[in-house]
Symmetry: C2
Subunit: 111 residues, 2 copies
């Protein structure tokens, strides 16, 4: 397509789409769930828990960080990852808003 038209849509749609994109890969969903179960993981342990190489896991973590869903803190030679409370608060707000919008109509589609 040459040019992506993301800018043509309103800010909230873009934000929701960006958030959804961060979760649009099973590896990233898996990372989020691992972080939910045990609240802090060293990067290397995440690599051991996932069927992916170190560089690939690092790349997925970078995307989750860019989306604001995950935080990393340097601890000597290692990096400790955990979920970002503010990022997930926003996610909850956006997703909850969308699902609420849908509640009225989704139950009565007569087309």
């Amino acid at each position: 397509m040459a040019i992506h038209k993301h800018q043509e849509f309103d800010a909230e749609a873009q934000e929701l789409a960006a958030l959804a994109k961060a979760l649009a890969h099973p590896a990233r969903v898996a990372i989020v769930r691992l972080l939910a179960r045990r609240q802090a993981w060293v990067c290397g342990d995440l690599v051991l828990a996932l069927p992916l190489s170190q560089s690939t896991v690092s790349q997925h973590l970078k995307e989750l960080k860019a989306a604001g869903l995950v935080q990393g803190e340097v601890d000597g030679p290692r990096v400790c990852y955990c979920l970002s409370p503010t990022g997930w608060a926003r996610a909850r707000q956006l997703l909850g808003g969308l699902l609420a919008e849908l509640l009225a109509t989704a139950a009565s589609c007569g087309c």
Copy 2:
């Protein structure tokens, strides 16, 4: 990467990721919201409401249908689109489940 490793992850992560991918573009978020506001849209009206060509809108609708979030019903020469109640019930279940898993830890990350 050559080979995508989606199969290496558990079914629920894959399902959640597929759902997120369907919402990972602002055009598709916009379509869902339009369908939420007015419960049935003819394809051509969606095209008029979006800054995209007919073929591109049709493509996005195809992806939303494949994800089970949208239904299309042929009505003479036109096609009437609306949200899929069962698809959104599943989405609510999966997203709600994820957010619930996060509730415990996301508020207390001390890394």
